[in-house]
Symmetry: C2
Subunit: 310 residues, 2 copies
């Protein structure tokens, strides 16, 4: 019933199904199986960048663009399972509230109680739900912190890294990983001083990946300046990915990664259950607490025992 | 050699050893084993809270207090493996720079390339290094976002949750987990309007854990107001944890958690290696890509095969 409504594009059903994944409800696995055959049509855009870079305003303008082209849009705003929730997400929602009455725009903040792995998995499934429900474009907005974001980036067809002009030497504090995850780089608030410097910095760092050279763009999300070019580049990216050999290779890698991570999750669960009832564990805990051996050695011994037993 | 220097309290050796853990160098495991017998003396304080709550200023004042009591201090500022580094950490370092020339204060920012699990593990070992090097007090500062922080909190003897007065209804946006991780709650910038409201809110939410009732304090870190009371409460917490039955139970739980997580890590690695060379994986990837089965079902089948084989 729920899945049928999702497939029809019903937003209330969508919201309910996403919650099932967030809360890891038993029904979630069933939903995932049922919707899977209907997925693979949407174009998934990841938008990531530090807090305050104007991501939500940019996403808002992107939605407007896509809507004017009659495309339906789904947006997932990822809250990186912080135990503190600032005003940011509230603000985000407000900024995008103008689309609330549009039946072809679905916006949802996502969080997870289940830690990082849980959020990445829930997001992957939420993307599939939006895809199966018929959304043409799916935008996943993250603040670019931590492992969950890196996982999400893997699923996106195009990852847009949003930065802002910075003064002084702070530009150099970008980490190595940044240049690797971006398919398109945007210097937002490009009307501020320092924009040229940032563009130059990014141009110096971008690396072509499998034949795709990431462009560096300027936007002023507030006024909408440059958003048309961003949409154009995203279209170019889509065409690039549609090439047969590239599409096949990507699908292969993504499926391999997903299955592996699901198997790893299952393995951990089963093994840790075995572990918790192991007498060896109790014995080793005691030895560690008496400082007779260290935790690393204890874990190696335990692993060897568990492996032999199976 | 390196470990010997660490045990003597040499800061350069400390820095080098911590880097070994951050970068997961092969020598790290050896260091961990060698220092383990020398650990267990320091008092470990976790300081967590949202960005802008004044944590670094508070930590700075705490260091001053401890130094005036002739205690040596180690500080680890955790950067939650964000791919974006703002100015925050730089600022933190500057704020604490006044202690740079003090041979009994060691301050270090920590990051990790190895994802969340890697950072938690590196931090745990960095704490042990500081402990073995003779630091009396170890302060671990985190921004309270994500899984790595939750892991770190588990290791701390006292977790101080720093909040600030807020206006409107934002107080209610604290997540459920917040009240559970704090051993001491601090409303910093308590001279701002809204402080009373925040104190009331926190008092309404704190839960006694194993006989410890978390106090709610007010501080003005900038002027140092209230920091003496915070130090007092931390001393109370230390006395509380020193009670024999409580200390034993805690040690048991912590060691169990650590060994379990090390075993789980090892298991994942070994299994995933087996998996990567499995012919079944290739076959299942193809089925998934043809949408004949879904990833979850594929992973279950694969897990069953791998389990049987062992």
């Amino acid at each position: 019933m729920l899945v049928k409504s999702v497939l029809k594009g019903d937003h209330r059903a969508l919201a309910k199904a996403i919650s099932a994944f967030e809360n890891e409800e038993p029904v979630a696995a069933k939903i995932a199986k049922e919707i899977f055959p209907y997925t693979g049509k949407a174009f998934v855009i990841g938008v990531t960048g530090p807090p305050g870079a104007g991501k939500s305003t940019l996403v808002d303008k992107m939605i407007k663009h896509y809507r004017s082209n009659k495309k339906s849009v789904g947006v997932l705003a990822i809250d990186p399972s912080s135990i503190f929730t600032g005003g940011a997400l509230l603000g985000d929602r407000l900024r995008m509230a103008s689309h609330n009455l549009d039946p072809d725009v679905f916006i949802r903040s996502m969080a997870s109680r289940g830690g990082v792995g849980g959020l990445a998995k829930a997001t992957r499934n939420a993307i599939r739900l939006l895809d199966a429900s018929g959304k043409d474009i799916i935008i996943v907005e993250t603040i670019g912190a931590g492992q969950s974001e890196v996982e999400i980036v893997k699923v996106a067809d195009a990852t847009v890294v949003v930065t802002i002009p910075q003064l002084g030497d702070q530009v150099q504090t970008f980490k190595a990983g940044l240049m690797e995850i971006g398919d398109i780089f945007v210097v937002n608030m490009a009307d501020l001083p320092g924009a040229d410097k940032m563009v130059t910095y990014l141009l110096g760092g971008v690396v072509a990946k499998n034949g795709w050279a990431p462009p560096v763009l300027r936007t002023v999300a507030k006024s909408g300046e440059g958003v048309d070019v961003l949409i154009e580049k995203l279209e170019k990216r889509r065409e690039f990915l549609a090439k047969k050999d590239i599409a096949e290779k990507r699908q292969l890698e993504q499926t391999r990664a997903e299955i592996s991570s699901l198997v790893a999750e299952k393995i951990s669960k089963v093994f840790l259950k075995e572990l918790s009832s192991s007498k060896d564990l109790e014995r080793l805990i005691e030895l560690v607490n008496k400082k007779k051996i260290d935790p690393q050695t204890a874990s190696e011994e335990l692993f060897a025992k568990l492996s032999k037993k199976r």
